[in-house]
């Protein structure tokens, strides 16, 4: 592990860069995923179909293809001049949102239909019904599966590094192994540890959130 310790700076700065990607992507994919789930359970057929189409397209496309599409296809086709960091993060958001959507939708379906009926009978609009009655109850049951989606996303963020974002955990490995000429095994192990710190922390946060929500029932 000596090469890693000698170049700890490289890994630490890589960790912060990767964390930045992860935090933006988590926020973005949760927001977009919940919006898509709202589309899919809405009474408006056009929105339902839009949501279903999104999930069907994105969920069935390999992550690398989605990321390459955003990293290289979008700039070439639309003249977008964002850096890889932004493009990669957007790609990760777009990909992960499909899974968040399905996870949230399963939670919505698990809420007793009578809850939404009672809300409708009171005169709440669809949006109020969702935000005040259905989603708060759905999000409880949705924490564990959505947590898994987010942890998978943290790991997927390594691929964003692989397509060209500089300064993240994965490019720390590349720099170590090629430019600096260290052995590959310890170099990649350092990167793996960096990701473990993120995923294990995410898991711990999830447990706390889950416990909090169980208490407030």
């Amino acid at each position: 592990m000596e090469p890693v310790l000698d170049n700890l700076d490289l890994y630490v700065s890589g960790f912060w860069r990767s964390l930045e990607i992860v935090l933006w992507a988590a926020a973005g994919s949760l927001a977009l995923g919940i919006l898509l789930a709202a589309f899919r359970v809405s009474p408006v057929p056009v929105l339902q179909r839009l949501g279903a189409l999104y999930v069907a397209t994105i969920r069935n496309t390999p992550l690398t293809i989605v990321l390459f599409f955003f990293a290289f296809g979008v700039p070439a086709a639309f003249g977008v001049t964002w850096d890889f960091f932004a493009l990669g993060t957007v790609g990760l958001v777009v990909y992960t949102a499909a899974f968040v959507c399905e996870s949230v939708r399963s939670g919505v379906n698990a809420v007793d239909a009578g809850q939404a009926e009672a809300a409708r009978a009171l005169g709440l609009t669809f949006r109020q019904n969702l935000s005040l009655v259905v989603l708060p109850q759905a999000l409880r049951t949705v924490v564990p599966p959505t947590g898994s989606v987010i942890i998978a996303m943290i790991k997927n963020s390594a691929v964003v590094g692989a397509i060209g974002v500089s300064g993240d955990l994965f490019s720390a490995y590349r720099r170590m192994a090629s430019a600096l000429g260290y052995e590959r095994l310890p170099s990649i192990a350092g990167t793996a540890v960096g990701f473990l710190v993120m995923t294990l922390t995410a898991g711990a946060i999830l447990m706390v959130v889950e416990r909090r929500m169980a208490v407030s029932r």
Partner: protein, 264 residues
């Protein structure tokens, strides 16, 4: 889909048994569930201040009838107006109209993640725009009125079925609705809790609230109803004041139904 079906026996008694100002007017209401024709051209007028009890065998369409009044079930044909306004199909207009129609469900359907008081104040604050302090005060009054004032800060799951249903009634009352629909409000309750709910409903009936009550509680129908409607196979078979209906039902189907109920 829009074919009108006239009911051969629908006019067993007159169609205008009430001299009250009409509040809910259903005319020629048709409803299908797939191949099943659950409402067959139903005509029904509920007058302001009237307590209408709907009875009939299970599967007769009485719950569906109740649920079409605030469009929790859509209809395939005919029309329903409330206080002169036609029920819109969906959207904000429908939501506004629904806020004037209270509903009490068989399975209570209290919001599980909200306290008892929050259940009662959610509608007034979010739909009517009442200030929270005012809604809270009024909410506590209503909970007091239905006898669960001391439970205000608990969650629904901590209450008995009878208490939950009384909270549900308070929740409906908080919107100051023009009419309250009761869809088998005591059918999910343990026997010893039925009377506490019926007592609240009887009080409500005496206070002049317009009520449509789908129930199997014949005692309540006798005591509190202004008019009883008997439904079978998606049709209004017979309607009369409770005394007449229970002592001298005219249609064979109502006679049969009542004989089965009162044999033990």
């Amino acid at each position: 889909m829009l074919r009108r079906v006239t009911t051969p026996e629908g006019g067993a008694t007159g169609r205008t048994p009430t001299s009250r100002e009409p509040l809910v007017v259903m005319s020629g209401v048709d409803k299908h569930f797939g191949d099943l024709h659950v409402l067959k051209g139903v005509d029904l007028v509920v007058g302001r201040g009237e307590v209408l009890v709907v009875i009939g065998p299970s599967g007769s369409g009485k719950s569906t009838l109740c649920r079409t009044i605030n469009r929790l079930e859509s209809i395939d044909g005919g029309s329903i107006t409330i206080d002169g306004a036609e029920l819109p199909a969906e959207g904000k207009e429908l939501a506004r109209l629904r806020s004037d129609v209270g509903m009490v469900f068989q399975s209570f359907n209290l919001f599980a993640h909200k306290t008892v008081l929050e259940n009662v104040t959610l509608g007034p604050t979010k739909v009517r725009g009442v200030k929270k302090a005012d809604a809270d005060r009024r909410g506590r009054e209503l909970l007091e009125r239905v006898g669960v004032g001391h439970q205000a800060d608990k969650y629904p799951a901590q209450l008995s079925g009878g208490q939950q249903q009384r909270v549900a009634i308070a929740r409906a009352l908080a919107m100051e609705p023009k009419v309250i629909l009761f869809d088998e409000p005591t059918s999910a309750l343990d026997p010893e809790m039925i009377s506490e709910v019926l007592d609240v409903m009887t009080d409500l009936a005496t206070s002049g609230m317009t009520m449509v009550v789908v129930t199997h509680e014949m005692g309540f129908a006798r005591k509190a109803a202004d008019r009883v409607v008997f439904m079978a196979d998606g049709e209004l078979v017979e309607q009369a004041d409770p005394e007449t209906f229970f002592t001298a039902p005219r249609s064979p189907r109502a006679q049969d139904f009542l004989s089965k109920i009162f044999t033990h």
